[in-house]
């Protein structure tokens, strides 16, 4: 047993706070928008130049000039504003976004993150990921705990080229939730186990060292 993609998104949604400005990465993080609690106002930023992102449009409302950072057609809201890429990343780099939720290939126990490059494979580029992890106030990673061959993705040291160092605050995997003291010296803490996951299982599947803070 472990968390499904939707359960991961739902768990990540618990990191939202009323009034937050949030940037969601592609994939599972995008699903977090479906779990914003009723009565909570969260404003989604899209790094291609938009604050206040709405849901996908109805077919007849599709607008080629209105896309998100995943190049998907979206809609605007009443509060929406648009700006240039430089203004968008000024917003990100300047620490004005409260929360970034994004995927990862690897995270290490000091909060280093790798999610943009696998040497020897065709590399697509980092897009805005390096800017987001360096600039956003709080960075939450949502990922599978292990790779397809069962290797831990929560490591002592990243093996892939990193996207940022000491940048991740929280890691939510299908097996559990870990907190990282990215600028301090506290060890990584296990905060929560996914439904049906045991401490033994998560310990066995985690290369990174952590302390039990359940």
């Amino acid at each position: 047993m472990a968390w499904s993609r939707d359960q991961l998104a739902q768990r990540a949604s618990k990191e939202l706070r009323d009034g937050f400005y949030v940037n969601l990465g592609i994939g599972i993080p995008t699903l977090v928008a479906n779990y914003i609690p009723d009565g909570m106002e969260v404003t989604l930023q899209s790094e291609n130049g938009m604050l206040g992102m709405g849901p996908f449009p109805y077919d007849e409302d599709v607008d080629a000039d209105l896309i998100n950072a995943g190049k998907q057609t979206i809609t605007a809201l009443k509060k929406t504003s648009y700006f240039s890429s430089s203004d968008s990343f000024a917003m990100i780099r300047g620490g004005h976004i409260d929360l970034s939720i994004l995927g990862a290939m690897e995270v290490n126990e000091r909060g280093d993150l790798a999610n943009w490059m696998v040497p020897g494979k065709m590399v697509k580029g980092m897009g805005g990921a390096m800017d987001l992890v360096a600039g956003v106030k709080r960075v939450v990673v949502v990922m599978e705990h292990t790779s397809k061959d069962g290797a831990s993705k929560l490591l002592k040291k990243c093996t892939l080229p990193v996207t940022g160092i000491n940048v991740v605050d929280l890691v939510i995997t299908d097996l559990g939730v870990f907190e990282i003291d990215k600028h301090g010296s506290q060890p990584m803490k296990l905060l929560q186990l996914a439904d049906g996951v045991t401490l033994e299982e998560i310990t066995a599947k985690t290369e990174a060292s952590f302390v039990n803070a359940l």
Binding site: A64, S84, M130
Partner: protein, 235 residues
Amino acid sequence: MANKVYPDAKSALEGFTFDGMSVMSGGFGLCGIPENLIIALRDTGVKNITVISNNAGVDGWGLGLLLETKQIKKMVSSYVGENKEFARQYLSGELELEFNPQGTLAERCRAGGAGIAGFYTKTGVGTLVAEGKETKVFNGETFVLETGLVADLSIVKAWKGDKEGNLIFRKTARNFNPMMATAGKRCVAEVEILVETGELDGDAIHTPGIYVDRIVKGNFEKRIEQRTVTKRENA
């Protein structure tokens, strides 16, 4: 004053292109790209172009057209995942590639246009993109020095423009266009709607005409990469 309005994209590029030149091309994905000027640039036959653009188009559209004809020597981009011809040329060593983080690329263009020779950013510190670059500590945090970028030519796409070259962009089609307009030694803009000077609200103009050397009304396909929709519930 010298007329800035040109009848078509081809004439708007005349005298502005040469082999080995650098070109900034606005747009994010296929959104807000200068469709007409890319085609006209292809048709000039100019070779060995260094293209600065967040993305590289797709096969058969946008900058993909210039990849097909092998007119591009080097790309400076943040993400190039949508283009098979790109991958082929890159893996075969025909095409050079310089990755910049998206925000760093945007800021480098702004800096180039603004006379800022370099700036310190936290983005990329400790990563491959910071290798070989100077770093400096401010208030206990490490920043990496990135430089301003300029190009021989910028091609941008706006929604509305006037005969003075003032531009207004629409929604997320703004993206890289405003900074790139400032960072080209020459800048040519294509617009959907060309109006008389005086019809645009001076407070709403995104790019003042000073940055635009030539302007042309284009015809636009405005292709969509990911058509994602919400299905209507059955009524």
